[in-house]
């Protein structure tokens, strides 16, 4: 494709047109999917734009974005701080792997939502509690990717470093870590995405009255679906922007790789 930009715009445009037609024609009501005509579902694009404008102007949206990014950062930083060392440890030492792996395999399938009661019990209705829920979602991709990166190291690189005089510690810092950096970075990028998806779970139980994840069920409960849409779209857009920024950083930082 010579001009993917054009196709991208086309795709988004098409979605908007279908959305608006669906909204204006009230087809969901006539099909019986929506029971009340007054619900106006889906909301029209102008009504969503108005909701967005309204909450930007009164600061609700901006504060919510700020709070959600803060919760994400708490969880993500914690996930990296714990996931990377634990991944290196289990990738490096078979014994550590045997001890830690069963615990991880049992914890991993438990969804972040299920941790809400524990988060409330341990941390109360605090930002840390929201960060903890995001941490649960973000932790495993960092851990698993770091583990695979370290485990996959070319043993000859390690031997080479040793004949060049490296101690075990230097092998770790000068060979193992840089070698597994691409996998680790990929893991962190996945975690960024998963963590962001956990924002709703992290905020829905009310650690604060702001937050993209708090506002969506809040506006849903009072049937203000144009606001729900505005917040959902914001969630999606910010997730997309963060991922793009991370990808740029990644390809620049890891430009030594053969295939980019």
């Amino acid at each position: 494709m010579k001009r993917p930009e054009l196709e991208k715009i086309l795709g988004v445009g098409l979605l908007l047109v279908i959305w608006e037609i669906t909204a204006r024609s009230k087809i969901l009501f006539f099909l019986g999917i929506i029971k009340m005509e007054a619900l106006a579902f889906p909301p029209t694009i102008p009504s969503v734009a108005a909701a967005f404008y309204q909450d930007i102007m009164n600061g609700t949206m901006t504060l919510s974005i700020g709070y959600s990014i803060m919760h994400l950062l708490i969880g993500l930083v914690l996930a990296v701080l714990l996931g990377v060392p634990l991944g290196v440890l289990t990738g490096w030492s078979r014994r550590a792997e045997y001890i830690i792996d069963p615990v991880i395999q049992i914890m991993r399938p438990i969804p972040p939502l299920a941790w809400i009661p524990i988060a409330i019990m341990m941390l109360g209705l605090t930002h840390q509690a929201a960060g903890f829920i995001i941490f649960i979602g973000a932790f495993f991709p960092v851990l698993v990717n770091t583990y695979s990166g370290v485990r996959g190291i070319d043993p000859r690189l390690v031997e080479m470093a040793k004949t060049l005089g490296a101690t075990d510690m230097q092998v770790l810092t000068k060979v193992v870590l840089p070698y597994s950096m691409p996998m680790m970075t990929a893991g962190i990028r996945i975690s960024l995405g998963v963590g962001w998806m956990c924002v709703v779970a992290a905020e829905m139980f009310g650690v604060s009255t702001y937050g993209l994840g708090y506002k969506i069920p809040y506006y849903g409960n009072i049937l203000m679906y144009n606001y729900v849409f505005a917040y959902m779209l914001t969630l999606g857009l910010i997730g997309y922007i963060m991922d793009t920024m991370f990808k740029r950083l990644e390809s620049w930082k890891l430009r030594w790789r053969e295939t980019i």
Binding site: A161, T163, L164
Partner: protein, 250 residues
């Protein structure tokens, strides 16, 4: 001087080396030649301290080799460069590990970049370099660590014939300048005759020293000269029976 005394290496179900004794004198260029499975690579790994002998001992300048031998430079066929480091970064790895100051490291890497002919490629990453260039980095990295002995495991085996000839010439030029002993594993009789002061022919299953040839041809050697041809004949004869044996022929 590397001296190997009555070295035996057994793995679970086979004997890689049996009662091998040999010496590499200071500044000498020795080639190990033999069929696959004759334990050439095992021998290099033992000299590098990457494996431990089942029996026998190895000494480098009178010091027994125990644990990884940090005074040898290893050059692999597959280069084994650190892909996240530039050519210069690879060459500086050894000095960096040993805590050499930055200015001194710069001086060392510059010296070897010039010596191996990498000028202009210092800041390239390995994936941006050709095979020959990669091996230049590999050789410079080994030299930059100031080793007492260079161990080379078919370093030019992955290169095309022309590049291989060029690299052989380059290696001799560097070796004549730096004069560090080299133990060089190869499959190629031509290569051995062109490079070595001594050629050690090994036999396989188990790996033992079969015959040692002194190559007294003056350098620069002519690859197709009568002396080289005669030497090649001698070695091929010695090796021929080994290769047949290894291939299961009578």
């Amino acid at each position: 001087m590397l001296s190997i005394k009555r070295l035996t290496k057994r793995f679970d179900n086979f004997t890689a080396l049996l009662d091998v004794s040999l010496e590499v004198n200071n500044g000498e260029f020795v080639c190990l030649l033999g069929p696959s499975g004759c334990g050439k690579t095992s021998l290099l790994r033992l000299a590098a301290g990457l494996d431990t002998p089942t029996e026998g001992e190895l000494f480098l300048d009178g010091k027994k080799i125990e644990g990884v031998n940090k005074e040898c430079g290893f050059v692999f066929q597959e280069y084994v460069l650190f892909p996240w480091r530039t050519a210069k970064g690879n060459i500086e790895f050894g000095p960096e590990i040993r805590g050499v100051q930055k200015d001194e490291r710069e001086r060392i890497s510059q010296h070897y970049i010039d010596l191996v002919g990498l000028k202009g490629f210092e800041n390239h990453y390995p994936h941006e370099l050709s095979g020959g260039m990669k091996q230049r980095v590999g050789i410079a990295r080994a030299y930059a660590n100031n080793p007492k002995l260079l161990l080379m495991d078919e370093p030019f085996g992955a290169l095309d014939a022309q590049t291989r000839n060029i690299m052989q010439g380059e290696l001799l030029r560097i070796w004549e300048k730096e004069h560090i002993s080299v133990l060089f594993v190869t499959h190629s009789v031509d290569e051995a005759v062109y490079l070595a002061d001594r050629v050690i022919v090994m036999s396989a299953h188990p790996g033992t020293v079969k015959e040692i040839f002194e190559v007294k041809i003056l350098r620069p050697r002519v690859r197709t000269g009568p002396e080289a041809n005669a030497m090649r004949d001698l070695i091929l004869k010695s090796l021929g029976t080994e290769i047949k044996k290894a291939a299961g022929l009578k």
